[in-house]
């Protein structure tokens, strides 16, 4: 959107070198990649620009509420040992705002912001998209063999498939466990999609395989041509949940079940091939904390109910 108005950065980020780069722009917030303290320490900067259509008091109240809310959820999860981005700094007033009433027109500069630890790694969405492309390719390669000599290739294909299934199941289990830990800590994500789940390489492994290809450098195009074993590593690593912009604190089964339902739908619509593996995610979730079986029972209800009631005119 070329003509769209992008609000300037909060003043303390105006002179950083290199300057923050815009990564994503939603209706609510802008996400930048920047650095923290040293230029080599990457950090994520989330800015909630003030909304000029809102009454200034309401605007300040909402920006403050939301940025603090997000930060509190992150800090709480961090304390409970759940893998999320660490909170580095925040300002709920926006830096250019010196409570100067005459400066009302200038309030648009900045806005509330939250600086977080940078999570390096591809989103699960990307990982699964690559995997789906790769799987399709594999199956196409196997197709002619299969029709030629079905008896011989069948056991081979089974081994392949089992390996594949195991890799995806393992990933799903890790996600299920991560979501379970988050719920156990009393936090609801509110927007669980595969884009908001990052697969971070384990730090130790990362050092060992320093000269191997970086995960996020492998594009979909690459994976189509390189149907090799390096793809097998793509599902190693630890699951980190990000974007707690719509998160809340709750321990109610209903809220937890809705979280899972949203995730299930996200998998179903974006990654149809993974639908059969969602059970593994739920199984890991079931084992992750004591109240989980009740949440899964509630999930059945939520599924039956769907989201939309019939409207009354």
């Amino acid at each position: 959107m070329e003509s769209a108005h992008i609000p300037p950065l909060p003043s303390i980020f105006m002179h950083t070198n290199p300057s923050p780069t815009l990564i994503a722009q939603g209706a609510e917030a802008h996400l930048y990649k920047t650095s923290f303290l040293t230029p080599s320490t990457p950090a994520a900067l989330k800015i909630r620009p003030s909304k000029p259509y809102r009454h200034p008091i309401l605007d300040r109240r909402l920006s403050r509420q939301r940025i603090l809310h997000e930060a509190r959820c992150l800090v709480k999860l961090m304390r409970e040992g759940v893998l999320v981005p660490g909170v580095l700094a925040l300002d709920w007033e926006g830096s250019n705002n010196n409570n100067n009433e005459n400066d009302a027109g200038n309030q648009q500069t900045g806005g509330a912001w939250l600086l977080m630890e940078w999570i390096e790694g591809p989103s699960v969405r990307l990982v699964l998209e690559k995997w789906e492309v790769w799987m399709k390719r594999r199956l196409q390669l196997l197709q002619p063999l299969e029709s030629g000599s079905p008896k011989r290739t069948e056991p081979l294909k089974c081994v392949e498939e089992q390996e594949e299934e195991e890799r995806v199941r393992d990933l799903m289990r890790k996600i299920g466990y991560a979501v379970g830990s988050m719920h156990k800590a009393g936090v609801i994500h509110g927007d669980l999609t595969t884009s908001n789940i990052i697969l971070r390489k384990n730090a130790i492994k990362d050092r060992e395989n320093n000269n191997s290809e970086r995960l996020d450098d492998i594009t979909i195009a690459d994976s189509v041509t390189a149907v090799g074993d390096e793809e097998l590593q793509a599902m190693d690593g630890e699951i980190v949940l990000i974007d707690f912009g719509l998160a809340g604190q709750s321990t109610q089964e209903e809220d937890r079940a809705v979280d899972l339902y949203v995730l299930e739908r996200a998998f179903g619509s974006a990654h149809p091939r993974t639908e059969g593996y969602f059970g593994a995610l739920l199984q890991a979730y079931r084992e992750s904390f004591k109240g989980a079986p009740n949440v899964l029972r509630k999930l059945e209800e939520v599924r039956m109910r769907g989201r939309k009631r019939s409207m009354v005119g």
């Binding site: 909304k51 019939s310 409207m311």
Partner: protein, 363 residues
């Protein structure tokens, strides 16, 4: 082609005559008249009273509409009526009237979804081609986008409609329902300055208004604005001058409460609309429905759309508020694609979702 449209899903009875010239030149509104059932201050409109009103007025309005349009009965191609959604009894009275006309004149019937009527009229009047639609009225609150032959609901209210929230607060304050409770809230809100804290409930692209209504009702009760004799205070100085207490607290006025209510619920509506725009990648917004007349809502939406590099389209009370011409417009579009509602199927329904309609007249 000429269609006559009959609308009566709520307290407005509307009759309109629309012509779509055969040579593809722009459609013409030949007549568009409306009669509103106004309930006394402090009361809403009840289905049975509203239905009685519609029954009493429908013949008169149809005659007047045809006269104003200078159209003979023979020239009319089809009779369009509101199939739903809406209040049961008023919908039924109008459906009966439509059937009667159909048998009397030997013309075919077209049942129209009320919400689609609003959208099509808004598109026709403003010329917006493919906007995100915010449909806000006394009975509906939806954010809608068109995609492959359906008007899809992206977000909606989880409980009461935004217009219902405003109307019911007008009832609490015992403000006049003439011409519309929401209009009088808007006028009173213009005198308000103080923003009081009210709940703000947005969940993704959905929102909720019942908690806000409870909160603002409670504030009105706390400050004594809900009393029988409070009604005449709203206009004079007592209603708009805040009282400062010795302990530093400020007593809000009823105007402040109206102002705060509008600021809060409209901010929610603009927020969910913006989210839908970001999601779909659209830059145009069209506001339809009775609450769409509100100038403050239009202003806020305009600021948001401008910041996104887009624009807002809105219509005035003739086409925003329920009317017969929108039913004629949507009905005629469907009629041209071959849709007919046989007499035995010419029912009406209180529940009729916007996305149930197959929009055959758009690509």
């Amino acid at each position: 082609m000429i269609a006559i449209g009959l609308e009566g899903s709520a307290n407005k009875l509307g009759v309109g005559v629309m012509r779509h010239p055969d040579d593809d030149s722009p459609a013409q509104v030949l007549s568009n008249i409306r009669h509103t059932f106004v309930s006394p201050p402090g009361e809403g409109f009840l289905p049975k009273d509203t239905a009685r009103h519609h029954r009493a007025w429908v013949v008169k309005l149809v005659k007047q509409a045809l006269k104003e349009a200078k159209v003979d009965v023979e020239e009319v191609d089809c009779i369009c009526y509101t199939k739903g959604p809406g209040m049961g009894a008023p919908l039924q009275s109008v459906a009966v009237a439509a059937r009667m006309l159909s048998l009397l004149w030997g013309k075919e019937l077209v049942g129209v979804n009320h919400c689609v009527g609003h959208i099509e009229m808004g598109r026709y009047i403003t010329g917006a081609t493919n906007p995100i639609v915010l449909y806000v009225s006394g009975g509906n609150t939806q954010v809608i986008a068109y995609s492959s032959q359906r008007y899809r609901i992206f977000g909606e209210t989880l409980d009461i409609a935004v217009g219902n929230c405003l109307d019911r607060f007008a009832r609490t304050l015992r403000i006049s329902n003439d011409p519309a409770p929401g209009y009088n809230i808007e006028q009173l809100a213009k005198k308000g300055k103080l923003l009081v804290d009210l709940p703000y409930t947005v969940k993704g692209m959905d929102c909720s208004f019942s908690g806000i209504l409870s909160a603002v009702d409670a504030l009105a009760a706390l400050w004594g604005f809900d009393k029988e004799d409070a009604a005449n205070d709203h206009d004079d100085a007592k209603g708009v001058e805040q009282t400062h207490h010795a302990d530093g607290t400020v007593k809000p006025t009823s105007a402040d409460l109206c102002f705060s209510l509008q600021e809060t619920v409209f901010a929610m509506l603009v927020e969910i609309t913006e989210r839908a725009m970001a999601h779909v990648g659209s830059k145009e917004v069209l506001i339809v429905g009775g609450v769409g007349c509100n100038e403050r809502l239009q202003e806020m939406m305009g600021i948001m759309a401008r910041d996104r590099g887009g624009s807002v389209h809105a219509t005035d009370e003739r086409f925003c508020i329920d009317n017969g011409i929108m039913i004629a417009q949507a009905g005629l579009l469907a009629y041209k694609t071959g849709l007919r509602t046989p007499l035995e199927e010419s029912t009406c329904t209180q529940r009729f979702r916007t996305d149930d309609v197959l929009v055959r007249w758009r690509d």
